[in-house]
């Protein structure tokens, strides 16, 4: 079979899985649905491996294939095929996505067992993986947009999975709306590309772009900036990031899948895929890099003061994606992808751990209430430690090698890019501190009552079901989380999934030890060979130097966290007192939500209120007596004018004619 046939199979299995479970969900027993779902992704992973092997069997130069099923739209000038593009970058992403997704499906198999919507969950999850694979394998911009929109829609379905919770549906909407903003940017960029280059096809576009555009022409810069709008919305970078923390309303496997390994990496993939265009618009690339840097730091500071476990991990994700964005924007393509892979491992692991702990806490998520789990849940605690070490880039873990490779590249590039290295190290320090803040809060110390319950009886404590954010009482019917809570120690699928990820988080970095091997770099080389930045290589010595500094920072960060949270636990309270303004800023997430409310939501409501009072009195009363309609932002004005009086309709018609006629007469004279 050719490489592309395997790739089509990769797409087929998750789609089939989703449809089968979706259609048969009343008939299928729950466990079967789970098995079908997991198997579907597992098969997709196997096909991904087959594609990889097929590619490896070819010359590095020949490793790019396009294949299409049928003509999507073939009209005057428009030639879009339903086609995929198989090359090292897409195969790499396919493997990461399907591999981590299989493990997450396995985890969900155990974790979501008592949930009434179990079958629906697996159907949605499969559909999400299908959409993500479509996005990654797409061979032209239109299919990319299709995959992009599907991913957004699937994430809406999954975030608001427990749909009877008002907070969940609100969060789902928010995520969807911000995603749509990104979609618009992407669509406009795609059409500008079509207008300038005449095609949507990747191969055509990337070959023609250097011929048609000169460096830093405003068109290509505009295209890249629009692409960035799309990328930042999906990857939760400033300023389109507000949806990510709220998205933690979804079940934990959803957070692990969407917000660790797949959806948020779509933006990074986009920048890497369109690197040819970004090479032609260095200004846009720099803007991307600085935004990534800003996100990295801001998210790191917020994570320092978050008390909700999942939200803290969410901000950590935002911060790490910032690293990846920096990486692919400054030219460290394979380093950025490498970090994407290791991050998928340890972040998914951390979310799985969070799920286990939250289950032990009877669905409560506040870390201030957690302590002493080190004794109560040994396996989970070990996994938390491994994940935390990898995230903090402790020497020899996977995170250690990947993060520092990006920073070493920045230094090697020289010029003002060394800012990225220094501030990147500051971010690494923050990462270590906030990660181990979590570890030292949860693991050691006197057991909290939930942990005590586990140690004494071996059972998870029971509590009234309630919404962790608002405290509202719930039940356990469809639309709410299930009645039983599953912790890793009691569920073998969860154990296996976490174990595998833990192993990968520890040793996954060994494929890119500087001076020893360069597996990922060499594999991805054909894709990025056409970039002028791919020739920059830090020397082995410089890389080890970077690694050394990174290791030291990591250990120092862990030490500071130890000091603050274990040795002298009263220190944080004292620091908060001393640095109250800073604390408040971080605690309120840099007031981003308030800013958006102030800049966008309030003005719209204000216009509506103005319309209701002034416009109505002056205009409507003055011409035709009428009554007011309701007000909801600008819609109020429209419905206001729709008064029901047929004479006012006639008036507007005549006024419209007068305006039009005057326009024509004035314009032509």
């Amino acid at each position: 079979m050719s490489c592309t046939s395997w790739a089509w199979l990769v797409l087929l299995f998750p789609l089939l899985g989703s449809i089968v479970i979706g259609l048969g969900f009343r008939a299928l027993p729950a466990k079967t649905a789970g098995i079908i779902g997991t198997a579907a992704i597992g098969l997709a992973f196997a096909c991904g491996v087959a594609t990889l092997l097929c590619l490896l069997g070819e010359d590095p130069e020949a490793r790019h294939h396009a294949s299409s099923l049928w003509d999507y739209a073939n009209a005057a000038g428009l030639d879009i095929k339903l086609g995929i593009f198989v090359d090292p970058l897409s195969v790499f992403m396919v493997l990461v996505v399907t591999g981590v997704s299989t493990l997450i499906h396995l985890y969900s198999f155990g974790y979501m067992q008592s949930d009434e919507g179990y079958r629906r969950f697996f159907s949605y999850l499969n559909f999400f993986v299908f959409s993500m694979l479509l996005l990654v394998l797409a061979g032209n911009f239109v299919l990319l947009i299709v995959g992009w929109a599907f991913v957004g829609f699937a994430s809406y379905a999954l975030i608001s999975f427990w749909y009877r919770r008002g907070t969940a549906t609100g969060a789902g909407m928010k995520a969807f709306v911000i995603n749509v903003v990104g979609d618009i940017g992407l669509v406009l960029a795609a059409f500008l590309i079509f207008r300038e280059l005449g095609s949507f096809d990747y191969e055509t576009v990337f070959t023609k772009a250097p011929q048609v555009f000169s460096v830093n022409e405003w068109t290509i810069t505009a295209i890249c900036l629009l692409l960035l709008v799309g990328a930042f919305a999906k990857s939760a970078q400033l300023p389109l990031h507000t949806w990510l923390p709220d998205a933690m309303e979804g079940p934990t496997p959803v957070s692990a899948l969407i917000h660790a390994a797949t959806m948020v990496t779509a933006g990074v993939y986009l920048i890497a895929r369109t690197h040819v265009l970004f090479d032609l618009a260095p200004t846009a690339a720099d803007i991307a890099a600085f935004t990534g840097l800003a996100t990295l730091l801001v998210a790191g500071t917020i994570a320092l003061v978050m008390t909700d476990l999942k939200r803290a991990i969410a901000y950590s994700t935002m911060s790490q994606i910032g690293y990846m964005v920096v990486g692919v924007s400054i030219g460290a393509y394979s380093a950025g992808m490498f970090h994407l892979m290791t991050h998928a491992f340890f972040k998914a692991l951390l979310f799985m751990v969070a799920g286990s702990i939250i289950a032990a806490m009877a669905n409560r998520q506040n870390i201030d209430e957690m302590s002493g789990f080190g004794k109560a849940m040994r396996f989970t605690s070990a996994m938390l430690l491994i994940g935390g070490l990898a995230l903090a880039a402790f020497p020899l873990t996977s995170g250690f090698f990947s993060k520092d490779e990006i920073l070493a590249f920045a230094e090697a590039r020289g010029g003002f890019y060394v800012i990225f290295t220094w501030l990147g190290y500051v971010g690494a320090l923050l990462t270590a501190i906030y990660t181990f803040r979590l570890v030292f809060r949860i693991l050691p110390g006197k057991a909290c009552k939930e942990a005590q319950e586990l140690i004494d009886t071996g059972h998870v404590v029971h509590a009234e079901p309630e919404n962790p954010a608002t405290g509202e009482v719930e039940d356990t019917d469809v639309g709410f989380p299930g009645s039983e809570h599953h912790i890793a120690e009691q569920s073998w699928p969860m154990k296996v999934a976490m174990g595998v990820l833990g192993f990968l988080a520890l040793v996954g970095g060994l494929v890119q030890v500087p001076g020893v091997d360069d597996v990922i770099g060499k594999f991805l080389e054909p894709t990025f060979a056409d970039s002028p930045l791919s020739h920059i290589h830090p020397t082995v010595g410089a890389e080890w130097e970077g690694l050394g500094i990174g290791g030291v920072i990591s250990i120092v960060g862990i030490g500071i966290a130890y000091f603050l949270y274990v040795a002298r636990p009263e220190t944080p309270a004292m620091l908060i007192q001393r640095l109250r303004p800073a604390y408040t800023l971080f605690h309120n997430k840099w007031y981003f939500d308030e800013l958006i409310d102030f800049l966008i939501v309030r003005p719209i409501l204000g216009v509506g209120r103005f319309a209701n009072r002034t416009f109505e009195r002056l205009v409507v009363d003055g011409l035709v007596t009428g009554t007011a309609g309701t007000v909801r932002g600008a819609g109020g004005i429209v419905r206001l004018v729709q008064s029901g009086f047929v004479r006012s309709y006639a008036l507007l018609l005549i006024a419209g004619f007068a305006g039009l006629a005057l326009y024509f007469l004035i314009q032509s004279s």
């Binding site: 309609g629 309701t630 729709q642 029901g644 009086f645 047929v646 004479r647 006639a650 008036l651 005549i654």
Partner: protein, 99 residues
């Protein structure tokens, strides 16, 4: 007389008809005003036909007369139906549909 005056007359009639629609409340009077407007168009057509020199405008005007008659029939039918339902024959009163 210069043909332009007929066109001016027709636009005056058109304007009167439009004003009537805007200011009168009885549907029957509004129908009358609509007739005025259509006939203003007729007048314009005939005037232009003379100006341009071919007969197409006059044919058009004859056709419009037929159509206007149909429209009036329909309009009166609807007004009778409203009357039968004992609803007020006043366009300002009939505004249940709004927003």
């Amino acid at each position: 007389m210069a043909i332009e005056w007929y066109v001016v007359l027709s636009s005056l009639i058109f304007a009167v008809g439009a004003m009537g629609i805007l200011t009168r409340r009885s549907p029957i009077v509004i129908l009358l005003c609509l007739e005025l407007m259509l006939n203003a168009g007729n007048l314009a057509l005939i005037a232009f036909s003379r100006m341009v020199g071919n007969q197409e405008g006059q044919v058009f005007a004859l056709v419009v007369m037929v159509v206007a008659a149909c429209e009036v029939v329909i309009g009166l039918g609807i007004i009778v139906a409203i009357f039968r339902r004992k609803l007020p024959l006043d366009v300002d009163e009939l505004r249940e549909l709004q927003g």
